[in-house]
Every structure is written in C-alpha cells, then in structure tokens.
Amino acid sequence: MLRVRVQTEDFNVGVELARLGDTSAGGIASFIGLVRAGEPPARRVVALTLEHYPAMTQKALERIAGEAQSRWPLSGCIIIHRAGRLLAGEQIVLAAAASPHRAAALQAVAFLMDWLKTSAPFWKLEEFADGGRAWVAARAEDTTAQSAWTR
C-alpha cells in the first residue's frame, strides 16, 4: 500500500497510521515535520508558505516512495506533504512506513525524509514576527544526507 498526497488542509496522524497497519506489519515508523518558530537570536518565524510545482510534485513523491519500497520490504508507505500558508507549530509533512521488522521501517522513514528534502519540488517562504520575509536556502547537509543513500 503506497499513499502519496499533497494537500493544503491538515492531516490526522492517528487516522493515517491506523490505515497503514495490517496483519503483515510488525511495526510502523513515522516522522512528522512541523513549522519551527526558531530560537533567539534568530528572527521568530510566524508562518511558512510552501510553494510547489503541482504537475511535478505527485510524480516526484511517488518516485521517492517507490524507491523506498524497492529498497526495504515495506507492507505500506505514506507521504503526505502540505502546501500553502502554515502557522508556526502546524504540521507540514508526514512520512511513515510499515514493515514486518522495525529496522526496515525506521530506515525507510529516514530515507523518505532525506529524499523529500532534496528531490521534491517544494520551496519554503518564511514570514518573521518583525514583518520581514525570506525564502529558505537549501542546506548542504541535506544534500550530503541524501547522497549517503546512493547505491
């Protein structure tokens, strides 16, 4: 079972994970990304706007989930990514994997997040408490993390 969605509305983690479990799954691993307000002395983030490339996003997410399924014996895999304006503390992304054994599920989720950071066409615009705004710059560490999975 592979489920990939881009949506503006929030998602219910309990409902999504419950749908992922079945009798072949020994466990489910998940990661939930949130909008971070940041700590002083950094400027406080009040909201993020996530822009994406709709014609490409679904395809890119399906490719990432499909790649995880080809690497680990997963009985299920979910990626839900939100788009639009989100306030600090809101949920941005859910990545989850179900597998007969925990190591596969945990590794698959780490893989999904590393690949989402570098291979899905999303861009974050931060709005600060002082009224400023700025596009988030890509981090070299994210590319390094993604490269580590290259076979």
Partner: protein, 87 residues
C-alpha cells in the same frame, strides 16, 4: 525555425521575473538549459536578476530534474526554480 515552449518559474525566480509562466518561441540555436538561461536573461531586467547567478538555479524538463547541460530540443515544459527546500 523556432520551438514553442511553456516556461515556468517558482519561488524567488517567479518573484524576480514577475510572472508564473510564459509561452515562448525559442530559437533553434538555444540548445541546452544553460543556453536557455542566458537567452532568457536578456528578456527583461527581472529575467536578468533571476538568472544573474545561474549556478543557484535548478531546472526540470517535462517534470524531471535535469542539469544545465541537458538538451531542450524535445521539451514541452521547462521549469526554473531555486534548490528545493521541502520536507
């Protein structure tokens, strides 16, 4: 001969250029993504600002990531954007 292509811009490229997309007749001698960025940069001051540092611009042809060396000959849709920051 020219090749009509749908070109899309995202994030700060979209803001600098001032439009989300445009349909353009691209001359045949504009062969690669790198050539296309140089050609687009001459269209307006906004385009010039967006493509000023081409090393910071990423590209997808028909919804697949490509490098600046990729040929654009058979492309129907070409998107330009900054390095992605989702997740």
């Amino acid at each position: 001969m020219t090749n009509s292509v749908h070109i899309l811009y995202f994030a700060w490229l979209r803001e600098k250029i001032g439009t989300t997309d445009e349909a353009l007749a691209v001359p045949d001698d504009v062969a690669s993504v790198r050539d296309l960025m140089a050609w687009l940069a001459r269209r307006s001051p906004g385009h010039a600002a967006a493509f000023e540092n081409a090393a910071c611009v990423r590209c997808a042809i028909d919804q697949d990531f490509v490098s600046a060396d990729a040929a654009i000959a058979s492309a129907r849709e070409i998107a330009f954007f900054p390095p992605v920051t989702g997740g």
